[in-house]
Structure formats: structure tokens, C-alpha cells
Amino acid sequence: DVKVTQSSRYLVKRTGEKVFLECVQDMDHENMFWYRQDPGLGLRLIYFSYDVKMKEKGDIPEGYSVSREKKERFSLILESASTNQTSMYLCASRPTRGVNTEAFFGQGTRLTVV
């Protein structure tokens, strides 16, 4: 059973803090993604990675960075948290085996920045 595990379900952080969101997958998938989900805006891609130490910007990378030191782990970093980064963050992974493969999501981390 594929599992994508996000380290926290809920987080409350203060403005200006550096925040780390961790994601681990156990299916040896090459591709990992961070999305942000907001009501009425759907899922928006922040960053993705197709290999260890590789990263690509998504649609809304400003204010975020990522790290992928091991294949199974993909971290999202908020360098200086702001209130407009309060959101639900979803991690996903997807294998590189043809183009019609399923993406698997974690349960999400609901981040509140106060």
C-alpha cells in the first residue's frame, strides 16, 4: 500500500519564523510535489522534484524553498512565514513509469501563521 506521510497534521507558527514541512513516501517514486490548497483556488503547485537534489518551480514558488536530499523525503521550507501562507499543504508522489500513472497524496498539513 502506497503511503505518503506528512509529518504534521496541524501547525501553528508565528510570523517571521522559518517553517519546515516534511514529507516521506515509501514507494520509491522519482517525482515528488508540494501543493497548496485554498478554498476556491483548488490545488496550486509550489515546487516539484524529479530526482534527488533536483527541484523545479511550480506556479507559486515565491516565499518557499524545497530540499530533497534523499529519494523518499521532500521538504518544503517557508523561509519567513507570513500570514498569507496560512493554508493546507499537500505533498504528493508519482512514479516515472509512463505518463498515465497515479499521483498519491498525503493527508495534508494545515498551517496557521499568526
Binding site: G42, N100, A103, F105
Partner: protein, 111 residues
């Protein structure tokens, strides 16, 4: 940036009715169009997907219809049940392996 436009934003259907959600895309590097279902407090999960070498795919009560010339695809839920109440997202792949999602449709099936 691949745009995926999804409608309606919300939908209320009576039990036993048909739920229809529509999506339109601009361009896509790959021909693969999935629908994801999300329940409150959970991450999205794949519901059904289509490759457009066929115009329709059916899995149980769920059907995807695809119109390549119009760049549109839709999800039909037949005999809708209260347990189908969830948020539904369509998606299309970008040049990499990321998926671009629509804004979602909140479906409520009333008893």
C-alpha cells in the same frame, strides 16, 4: 502554465440523480486526464482517469467523457449517493510529471 478550468464550483444533487462536472484544458504535453476525489480531512485520491485514445471510460457509477477536439472532459456520477459527497478535482499533466488541477467542485448529494 497549463490552465484547467473546472465547473461548476458547487453542485447539489438528489440521491439517485446524475452529477456532472466539466473541465476544459488549454494544451497538454501528455494525453492523460485524471479525476481526484477528496473527503474532508483527507488528501485527494485518484477516482478515475482516461487516456484519450478512447472517448469514454466507465468504472462502476463513474464515467469520464472526453472530447479531444474541444479540449474538454467531464465526470458523470450515475445514481449519486450521499457517500459521493466530496470535492472533485480534474487534472491535466504539464511538461513534467506534475499535474495541474482545476479549482474543484464541491458535491453534495442529499438523501
Amino acid at each position: 502554465q497549463q490552465q484547467v478550468k473546472q465547473s461548476p464550483q458547487s453542485l447539489i444533487v438528489q440521491k439517485g440523480g446524475i452529477s456532472i462536472i466539466n473541465c476544459a484544458y488549454e494544451n497538454t504535453a501528455f494525453d492523460y486526464f485524471p479525476w481526484y476525489q477528496q473527503f474532508p480531512g483527507k488528501g485527494p485520491a485518484l477516482l478515475i482517469a482516461i487516456r484519450p485514445d478512447v472517448s469514454e471510460k466507465k468504472e462502476g457509477r463513474f464515467t469520464i467523457s472526453f472530447n479531444k477536439s474541444a479540449k474538454q472532459f467531464s465526470l458523470h456520477i450515475m445514481d449519486s449517493q450521499p457517500g459521493d459527497s466530496a470535492t472533485y478535482f480534474c487534472a491535466a499533466p504539464n511538461a513534467g510529471y506534475a499535474l495541474n488541477f482545476g479549482k474543484g467542485t464541491s458535491l453534495l448529494v442529499t438523501p
